[in-house]
Symmetry: C3
């Protein structure tokens, strides 16, 4: 594997086109914090598989288009070259494209908006990163969340951008939560797997395995933490009496998965203390997910990865200096 990566790196050094693809793949990998083109390749494969599995290839196209536009925008626009090289201008765009593809109806104007959103996500990511620099906290996927929310909301104002799959706006508290008890082992495992694939808005167990494999080739701890985060999320959500469809569909688990990886290994150390801190953050992310689902209901907006962003920001800011 090392050999393959070294060969690819040599090729990328010799050809701007291969370098561009290398940076795009790294951008895909950065959704899960991995600066690794092979990880990115697994992730792209999972995205494409997941999109075809639900007969929506245009969703994958929207994601990859936004990723390409962002990678090009950051290059041409004179943004920080070191950040560009490791894919840090790409991951928010990829997620933004996937979200626009998932929640809006496809069409020509749709792809124009995906292009604009891809380029804008570079500006947002850079702005957020610089704003938070003074606090020594990373922007995480907030660039994605803010860009996607703006474009999804804007669909209500433009006939050229119809809102295909957005949830209907409702006031919270109207529906009764239906929690089926107990959770069968198969449903539990499906919830765990889909909690991982839903990080990329994908609803596929095979995609989940590809995502895990992609993580594992770059970082085994990250893969284990993603899995642990998903297990915690499904267990906590179920015990608290969450709607079973949400639990087994992974819709309460994708943000906790990201929190577990971020706090447990990427921005923290997997010491016992650090892991306990990460586990607590993961539990709280499940609650934040339920909270933001309710809080965003009047806007008809999905929470996306905002629960992960909010909780991880708080836990990184609060981290006791010598301990965790």
């Amino acid at each position: 594997m090392e050999r393959i990566l070294q060969g690819f790196e040599r090729a990328a050094g010799a050809s701007p086109a291969i370098r561009f693809i290398d940076v795009m793949l790294r951008g895909a990998g950065q959704v899960m914090f991995m600066d690794n083109p092979l990880t990115g390749l697994f992730f792209v494969a999972a995205i494409v598989w997941g999109a075809f599995a639900v007969d929506a290839p245009l969703v994958a196209l929207a994601g990859l288009l936004a990723l390409a536009v962002a990678t090009g925008t950051a290059l041409v626009g004179g943004f920080d070259r070191a950040s560009w090289r490791v894919g840090l201008y790409g991951y928010n765009a990829l997620l933004t494209g996937l979200a626009l593809g998932t929640f809006l109806a496809p069409g020509a104007m749709h792809f124009v908006f995906v292009v604009i959103a891809g380029a804008f996500s570079v500006v947002v990511s850079e702005a957020v990163g610089r704003f938070l620099k003074v606090h020594a906290v990373p922007g995480l996927t907030f660039g994605f969340v803010l860009t996607a929310w703006l474009f999804l909301l804007a669909s209500h104002g433009f006939a050229g951008l119809p809102a295909g799959g957005l949830p209907t706006a409702v006031l919270p508290g109207g529906a009764t939560v239906v929690a089926s008890d107990p959770l069968a082992p198969g449903a539990f495992l499906a919830g765990v797997a889909l909690s991982i694939s839903q990080v990329f808005l994908k609803d596929s167990i095979i995609a989940a395995l590809l995502f895990l494999a992609g993580l594992a080739v770059a970082s085994l701890p990250a893969a284990l933490l993603a899995l642990a985060g998903a297990v915690i999320a499904v267990a906590v959500a179920h015990l608290a009496g969450a709607e079973s469809d949400l639990v087994t569909g992974g819709l309460l688990g994708f943000s906790p998965v990201l929190t577990a990886v971020a706090l447990g290994t990427v921005f923290g150390k997997p010491t016992p203390r650090g892991l306990a801190y990460a586990a607590f953050g993961t539990v709280v992310t499940v609650i934040a997910q339920a909270a933001l689902n309710a809080g965003l209901a009047p806007f008809g907006l999905p929470a996306l990865t905002m629960p992960f962003v909010l909780v991880t920001w708080l836990f990184l800011l609060a981290r006791p200096a010598p301990a965790a």
Copy 2:
């Protein structure tokens, strides 16, 4: 009185258990910015009285449980020991527990969430404090507001956490404001007293007197400013034509009470200029309370002390350097 406090301090120095209780009491006192265990004792008595007065002792239990959990979490978690000693990790947890007890239905799962919220409030308070440090502004009760909002909203997603007393979510502007004129002296005084007890989500005149007494033993200016803030709030709200039930129930006055104490003495000097600045902030807090009541209506969330937090942040940030 000095003698009692010194004796208690000696005992706390000798026994970790008494120190823990000392820090819990200081945490209660810090809701009104007082680093004083006797103040805290008065406050706890007022909370317990107010809870029993409306036949809801579990509300007081939820508050004290969250306070104990937060005090323990901050101790074990390695958070700043000096801040811990003066109760700065406790007050947000106490208020969070009281809010969860007030707005959610009691039950076993309920208390599990109170424990999680108590621990989480430590993380939030620390994160908010560090974020604002660069701006030389304190976190105030934002740790409470953010934690409580998240857990209250999350109740809509978990069958194990039913929302007992949350307001029904509505769009603003639908109801007609009923302002009865004139305001009888008794109603005015009730409004003033309950504006103070509602700082702790309590609806009791005797509790209000205990809160005032607790303030007075630590700082007479603080007690007078709390009273003045309540008088200003009730007068302004009534003159502006606010719903009479809200005015006389103290529900438009608890945030202004906190603003008056914060700007008038804790973070400002009671000079004529400083008091005028605090009075203006107090008036604006009444308006902010009405605004946030309307702005939070679609979420079915109470404003809690956010009007105080928002206005006091603005007034502290804007403070003209040499003057006020």
Copy 3:
């Protein structure tokens, strides 16, 4: 023209009353970033004309009253004298007064609130400016937006402050966008002109010409960029299929106009690269306007100039250092 301004400056130096009027006029000019009393005079004339044109002179009165109160508050309150002299404490107040006059029903209590809002806007502007100083980003019109939103929302809680012209709160996504195609040249030009006059919440082509003239006397590039911003906004909004009434009424263009001027000349350089960056920001502001229109619908609040503030903050924060 230079001669007139010099004579006026001499007179202002000799008389505090004329200085006060000078600062008020500069405050009006600062709505479009111009530190120039003649620009301010044009703007005030446009505001008065626009108000009388729709038979609502009290709206202009509310704006000028808030401007006078803020100018006086900042002077007496000991705020930064240099900022005061160039009108930086005035523009948010003027806009706040115009917004309260436009969206609330007139009356005695109404003007009391305009006075409070005018003074409060000074505190908000100063607070926002200081908060953002560490990020080297200006407060723009956020002081106006925050103050106006608070007072508009508060109208739902006070019988003394009836909400005359506020939009009815609705959940987004309920209405169908009606985009009439094609856009006739006259409608296009009306949309461009009103996009400029709506910066001041005015719906008048003659007012638009006065605003442009006022800009031109201080800065021809600014006037041209305002015009270009309006053209871009109307074209983009129409192409995306926005509601025709909004497009031709200038209601999707006033924020983009401000973005174009801010990024193109005030806080940026009109190089090809800088203009391309400003043009992209202007396009994104149209999308942000549609987004915030939908996002604020549940509150029954107008977006005011928040789309401009949000996008310009992001673009200023993200600005690649040597390039744009």
